[in-house]
Amino acid sequence: MNSLLNTPTDPFVDGYAAIKPLLDIEGLPFFSSLREQAIRSYQEFGIPTRRDEEFKYTSLRALQEKKFKFGFGANVDREDLVNFTLGLIEAFTVSFVNGQYAPELSSHDHLPKGTYVGTASEAPTELHGAIEAQFGKIASLQGRLGSTNDERFVALNTAYLGEAAVVYIPKGKTFGQPIHLQYITSDVSNGTYSTPRVLIILEENAEAKVIESFVTLKGFGFTCPVTEVRLAASARLEHTRYQDESLDSTHVSNTYIYQETKSIYTSNNINFGGEVARNDINAFVDGEYCETWLNSANVGLGNQVIDNHTRIDHAKPNCQSFEVYKTILKDKAEGVFNGKIFVYEDAQKTDAKQTNQAILLSPTATMNTKPQLEIFADDVKCTHGATIGQLSEDALFYLRARGVEKSRAESLLVYAFAAEVLEKIQVPAVKDALEARLFDKLA
């Protein structure tokens, strides 16, 4: 049929039958039927084009053209970790290379009773029920207001689901160490693709800090991660995702969060890498008195495209959300911000604040911003503000009047613009390392 319509075949569909049996060895047994359903849903939509509203500004032609191959294991040594900004931070680490679990790069410390951080297949059997109950259920827009068709990459990820990472913190427990989920691409076939998958469950009143990092050791890749987060009542998660893949890589991620009463979710979404980086972060706030913080710092140079889509569904009353997205663009880089906030009929007293700021350092850099507030309740406070521009003249003059040279004052202000977001990260080692990396990226 494809040939009749004269459309190119989809590389992710064509090779699937051969890879499926290899996938079925990985993860938990129930993954197998998820994969089967997912490849069918993916096939319905395929690779998006710019005619698809949700991908209007971001071309994913590379996925059609670059002939990415499914990633199998590659050797990455502990010594290689020094190459990565967060490679050596002290954390409970679970590493994956080309999507495959890398035990030699992971922590094997004893975990407190009832807590689990590791692969799905090694999870204790008493957790299997909890995993199966949530897995794939959070990453869905089914039945949501104004649903869009951008779930295709969730389907692609699930179709190629191999091993998954699971973080499970039981009721009332705080995981003391930061948890680092590290995804390394070490290209073995001139374009390697991988589909990292994470499930984070924080039970009632549990607390954790999770960092996901996406980096490239050599070559380039296509990384298509899906992370599902479930926060039970009063749970608190700081969730930092740091994407710094090589500048010819493609990154298309989906993060879905489900929040119950009084839970606090903080996202720090940091993007320095990728030729094309597209992130969707969707928070469904389904309990009262929740807080949702979405922070983001992005730097695009050269021909980089950085596209962030966020969506907050306020389904219950008395919740607050604060969103601050910042982007620095230079050369011919392009940025996209699409921020959707839905306030459901029941969600009275919602307080949602969205800001999106971009600094363009070259006349050829472009930023496309689209805030989308859809409010169906009457007693709410929702604000959004977007600024796209150059550096503040007043701040620049202030620095220069104190003796700081113009060029240095400019770079200081550019740095500060993004550093303001990094400063919020509550894991000092991560904050410091990312600030240093930001400094290098801008140098």
């Binding site: 503040s392 007043d394 701040a395 003059f397 202030y398 620095l399 220069r400 009047a401 104190r402 003796g403 700081v404 040279e405 113009k406 240095r408 004052a409 200081l412 202000l413 740095y415 500060a416 613009f417 993004a418 550093a419 303001e420 400063e423």
Partner: protein
């Protein structure tokens, strides 16, 4: 040290300074007073090199250099310091980092090597103590979330660290409580020396009790219309600006 001759400046085609003449010698303290909108901050901004203002006529000589030819950072490096009427907030840049960049940029301009981290911290500590500045403010972003009074105090703290030749204070006293006013005045006086000079812009005679001027000038409609000793400040405080305007009208 500073010779301003027939200085005219406009913003957006509107002439604000209309022929200012002023000479400040080393060791002197000059006060400039004048009604709102008369051009005091404009004069300070033109001296510091803000690009919003077009200088259409006149010249400014600063220790033998043509000040108007210099970039703002060069003016600072030559020893000019402006304490802003409205200090700017700079989120994401800590006070310490900012000041160290300033100190090192100025040192570079003067052909000196960077100050060591240790010496810098020692210097900052001494000056912060003198300005009774809470040390936690040093690690906060420049002026961000500072109260009005804290911002002013922070300006004088920066001045104390940079030790300029010519200090221009633009309404540094406004927004300060009585105790803070004394601290700020002490900071300014600590810098007084035969090699330095100070230009104080203020609306209130009160500040001049603490920073005692050698000369007081009155700026009206972009011109210095009257100069005198410190007693002129008392006269202005008592009578307001009307008597000067009347004098002017009588002359015209």
């Amino acid at each position: 040290m500073l010779t301003i001759s027939n200085l005219h400046a406009s913003v957006e085609e509107k002439e604000i300074l209309r022929g200012v003449n002023l000479t400040v010698k080393a060791g002197e303290v000059h006060a400039i007073m004048g009604p709102n909108g008369s051009g005091k901050s404009t004069l300070a901004s033109v001296l510091a090199g803000k690009s919003d203002y077009d200088v259409t006529e006149g010249s400014v000589d600063f220790d033998g250099k043509d000040l108007l030819e210099l970039d703002p950072e060069e003016r600072a490096a030559e020893g000019l310091f402006l304490a802003f009427q409205y200090p700017v907030e700079i989120p994401g840049v800590t006070n310490t980092y900012f000041l160290r960049s300033a100190v090192n940029s100025i040192r570079k301009y003067r052909g000196q090597v960077d100050i060591s981290a240790k010496d810098f911290m020692a210097l900052v500590k001494v000056k912060a103590a003198m300005m009774e500045l809470d040390p936690s403010m040093l690690s906060r972003s420049v002026n961000e979330g500072f109260s009005g009074g804290e911002k002013k105090r922070n300006e004088i703290f920066q001045m104390a660290v940079l030790e300029p030749k010519l200090c221009v204070l633009d309404e540094t006293d406004s927004g300060l409580d009585i105790d803070a006013l004394k601290v700020v005045a002490n900071g300014v006086n600590a810098l007084r020396s035969p090699e330095r000079a100070t230009l104080v812009i203020t609306h209130y005679q009160r500040l001049l009790d603490y920073i005692v001027p050698d000369f007081v000038h009155v700026l009206v409609d972009g011109r210095i219309v009257k100069s005198g000793g410190k007693e002129l400040a008392f006269e202005l405080e008592a009578k307001g600006y009307d008597f000067i305007k009347e004098e002017l009208a009588a002359k015209a």
